[in-house]
């Protein structure tokens, strides 16, 4: 997030796109409701009737995969109606005129045709967002999990630049991060192209800094993204994999493909708190500790570093992950000497100035938001105050491209995946929490009543959902939460693992993010088999 969770309640306009906040980030949704109680307007763009729609001034029920058309049309209207922030554009951006020309075609009429949203609503949304200088955008995987994900994000950014809704309190571009420490894992450098603090591995000066700090020659070749590793394993280029706290067999697109790739590895090590589907394929499984059994820090969605504290002893011989890594490293000839997580955190701070001012001692008094370069720095509530670090930023022209898969005669429905309120990800934790499992323990597919009637499917009937990759069986839940022609399946259930259906070849070219939000499928009654 460029801005802060605390600022949400003072937003004037909240434009929420591709985020089922009430279920995926329930407490952030509470902050949004607080803003609404204080008079804010909520606009939601989502193909599904997500629960927050009930509180929205306006709901744009777009077709999946039409984010660029929707966002560009809004920009077109904001431009045409003179709601732009000229001073901001002149002072802080470049490329405005070229970009402007790219919007000519996105009239409200064209927007309606492309997105399925009535043009009047598109115009109203543009006016509400464009008229406010305290408007914030919130998005999650509904924007990013597309083959056009990077372009979608650029289109989001263009809207903020056009209205100057960034670099001040109560505005901003705010992706809501989905996991407790996904921000921290990125910040700490668990990405194939950057060291901690987003410092690129292929810049020699950076490489030399880290070689000195770690006293070891380092590679300048950017590595493989998670979604590329399976393919490389199948080709035989990757022989061994060390997985700590992930379950890619359920998490990656196209389960069959992932399983084959992992089976082809010469050596697979999985370190986790449970024997996951990935762990079952491993040669070695290492018992790890969960959040309640260790000290450390997490970084949340608004860049807030917060202290995690040990509350209970781990079961059996389970060990803290850092101790396991350090020991393995030693045995591979690279000594790692640490007495505590605090020492590791201090080392990270020395290598990335944004964390340098944060100490465990300071965190005792509450979380601190990076950047926090010095011990006396209070932390940063919102980014880009007084300008962008690299000077002016550029508008990026983005054009529509169709999704990789489209509904056709054989696979007439579009599948989106996501979370529900009760379960979390692939369920290794929540499915072992008894009350949650007893309340929300069955896999289901949301199907629109008209589609259900057409296919003669009744409520709670078991159906088979099939894509070009495979098929799963689960219960039909007939509901108007989904659009006609679309179905939704939550990702949590191993017995009906939705990634059996998804496409490992539909990736965003830059981010390598899979197109989980659009897969062509068909739904059949099991009774028909006879």
């Amino acid at each position: 997030m460029t801005n802060s969770l605390r600022e949400i309640e003072d937003n004037e306009v909240l434009f929420i796109t591709g985020s089922n906040t009430k279920e995926a980030h329930p407490v952030i949704a509470n902050m949004m409701l607080k803003a609404r109680r204080k008079g804010a307007k909520i606009i939601i763009a989502d193909p599904r009737r997500v629960p927050l729609v009930r509180f929205a001034e306006l709901w744009l029920q777009q077709r999946p995969g039409t984010d660029i058309a929707l966002l560009n049309t809004m920009a077109h209207v904001i431009l045409k109606e003179g709601l732009i922030n000229e001073q901001f554009i002149n002072e802080q951006t470049t490329g405005f005129n070229d970009w402007r020309a790219s919007l000519d075609a996105f009239t409200p009429e064209a927007g309606e045709k492309l997105t399925g949203v009535p043009k009047g609503d598109l115009v109203r949304a543009a006016r509400i967002y464009g008229c406010s200088r305290r408007a914030a955008i919130y998005y999650t995987m509904g924007i990013t999990q597309h083959a056009q994900g990077t372009a979608n994000v650029n289109a989001v950014a263009n809207l903020a630049l056009l209205t100057g809704n960034i670099g001040r309190p109560f505005t901003g571009i705010n992706p809501l991060r989905g996991q407790n420490n996904v921000q921290g894992a990125c910040d700490a450098g668990c990405l194939p192209n950057v060291y901690p603090g987003y410092q690129r591995v292929d810049i020699p000066l950076v490489q030399q800094t880290f070689e000195r700090a770690w006293a070891m020659p380092l590679s300048v070749r950017p590595g493989l993204a998670a979604t590329e590793i399976t393919g490389k394993a199948l080709e035989g280029a990757v022989k061994a994999l060390y997985v700590m706290g992930e379950n890619p067999v359920l998490g990656d697109p196209n389960t069959e493909h992932t399983r084959k790739g992992f089976q082809k590895l010469d050596f697979l090590v999985v370190q986790d708190i449970f024997l996951t589907e990935t762990g079952m394929l491993a040669d070695v499984v290492l018992p790890a500790t969960c959040f309640a059994e260790k000290d450390g820090t997490f970084i949340n969605t608004d860049r807030r570093v917060q202290r995690v504290r040990k509350a209970v002893e781990p079961p059996g011989e389970a060990r803290e992950d850092w101790r396991v890594i350090a020991e393995l490293s030693k045995r591979l000839g690279y000594e790692m000497r640490y007495e505590s997580p605090e020492e590791i955190f201090e080392e990270l701070g020395r290598l990335w100035p944004a964390l340098e001012g944060i100490t465990y001692g300071r965190l005792e008094r509450g979380g601190i938001q990076w950047p926090c370069p010095t011990r006396s720095h209070p932390g940063t509530e919102f980014l880009y105050k007084g300008g962008f670090p690299r000077g002016k930023v550029s508008f990026t022209a983005v054009s529509m491209a169709p999704p990789v898969e489209r509904a056709d005669r054989e696979y007439p429905l579009v599948l989106t995946t996501g979370r529900n309120l009760f379960q979390y990800h692939f369920g290794s934790m929540t499915r072992r929490a008894a009350p949650i499992e007893s309340h929300a323990g069955k896999p289901y597919a949301e199907i629109h009543p008209e589609d259900a009637e057409h296919m003669r499917i009744s409520q709670d009937e078991t159906v088979r959902v099939t894509s070009r990759r495979g098929s799963i069986r689960l219960t039909a839940r007939i509901t108007e939460r989904v659009r006609r022609g679309e179905i939704f399946i939550p990702m949590h259930y191993a017995e009906a693992a939705v990634n059996v259906l998804t496409n490992n070849e539909a990736l965003d070219a830059f981010s390598k993010t899979p197109e989980f939000k659009i897969t062509a499928v068909k739904v059949e009654r099991l009774a028909q088999e006879g």
């Binding site: 989905g178 022989k239 998490g251 608004d302 079961p315 393995l328 979390y424």
Partner: protein
């Protein structure tokens, strides 16, 4: 800013705040059962009555905004007599089974009974019957203990935007219930449990696991989504038995069903307890010593035969910064490859 007098003390507070809030900020205790500064004022329990000069009757501090020059008396004999009577009336329609109540030691009503030394009760008589048990798996609703403060109703409607419960019936039969007095079927965020001043709303899975005085509280961060909600884990005999959240944190003490009720995986019998090495397609328990040796040997052999880029590492958005930092350092410095990633894309 507004200047007013509270118990002969001159106090300056921002405009618009209530007498109760002003008293809190000045460290003056006014009892209340229905107020929570995160919720709209309600004025239901009448315990916070105070004397304002120039107003003949007592007024509720929670609904009275401070005005310039106001003179307020937070306590005197008459006020305390009234407050004592209110608590006595509440207790006359209460099970008073503190000896076996989950909430004992952490109960506002119990504290007030102690404070006012209510050993006998002038109002004992008929008690309202609210015996129906709710079968939902999360929240124990013991409506016998409900004092109708309405905090749960306000939290559910205003904070959560759900409105799963409300007041129903009138007078002696008044109660708080879901529509048609059915079982709760809501988001099960448990905000209602967190604001309940008595033992009327409790977490089912915490029942019998230890009362407040027996638990150790540890402040930490929620392991689920990226909101970073602050959690307080209540630990008894090396087991997390309850989760709460402090109101002075970014999440203001509000949690969701996963954060508040989704913790029993910690003690699941399925937890991995020893290293496992697969031999002939089957896992066998191993010591750390042999496992470390085995992993180091295998990785070392693959590295020398195929080069460091034949090895990949997947780290975790669930692990800490320290663990993630060390993992990528391990892949880059000990193995020698940049093949390190995690599930941010997924």
């Amino acid at each position: 800013m507004v200047r007013f007098t509270l118990d002969d003390q001159e106090i300056v507070v921002p405009e618009g705040i209530t007498v109760l809030e002003a008293a809190r900020r000045s460290g003056i205790f006014i009892p209340t059962l229905c107020d929570d500064s995160r919720l709209e004022p309600f004025g239901g329990c009448r315990l916070c009555v105070v004397q304002v000069q120039g107003i003949p009757r007592l007024v509720t501090a929670c609904t009275t905004p401070v005005a310039e020059g106001m003179r307020v008396q937070s306590t005197n004999e008459e006020i305390e007599r009234r407050r004592r009577t209110i608590v006595e009336l509440i207790l006359s329609d209460h099970p008073n089974d503190c000896m076996v109540c989950e909430k004992a030691g952490d109960c506002n009503l119990q504290e007030l009974a102690y404070f006012y030394d209510l050993r006998t009760n002038r109002f004992y008589g008929q008690r309202s019957q609210r015996l129906v048990k709710d079968q939902n798996p999360f929240i124990e609703r013991d409506m016998e203990k409900c004092i109708l403060c309405g905090k749960c109703v306000r939290a559910c409607y205003d904070i959560q935007g759900v409105g799963a419960i409300d007041f129903t019936s009138r007078g002696f039969t008044a109660k708080i219930a879901p529509p048609f007095e059915k079982d709760l079927d809501c988001e099960f965020c448990g905000q209602c449990v967190s604001v309940c001043p008595t033992g009327a709303l409790m977490s089912k899975q915490s029942l019998g696991k230890g009362r407040q005085k027996d638990v150790q509280e540890v402040d930490t961060i929620c392991p689920y989504c990226g909101c970073g909600c602050n959690l307080t884990l209540h630990v008894s005999r090396n087991e997390v038995v309850r989760v709460t959240s402090r109101p002075d944190t970014i999440n203001e003490g509000w949690l969701c069903v996963k954060g508040r009720f989704g913790y029993s995986f910690i003690n699941s019998p399925d937890r991995l307890k020893t290293p496992l090495i697969k031999k002939d397609g089957k896992f066998a328990e191993a010591t750390w010593e042999e496992t470390f040796d085995y992993v180091a040997t295998r990785l070392g052999a693959i590295k020398s035969k195929h080069g460091p880029d034949a090895i990949g590492g997947l780290s975790s958005a669930r692990c800490s910064n320290e663990e993630n930092y060390l993992f990528q350092k391990f892949m880059r410095a000990a193995i020698g490859t940049n093949n390190v990633d995690h599930c941010a894309r997924l």
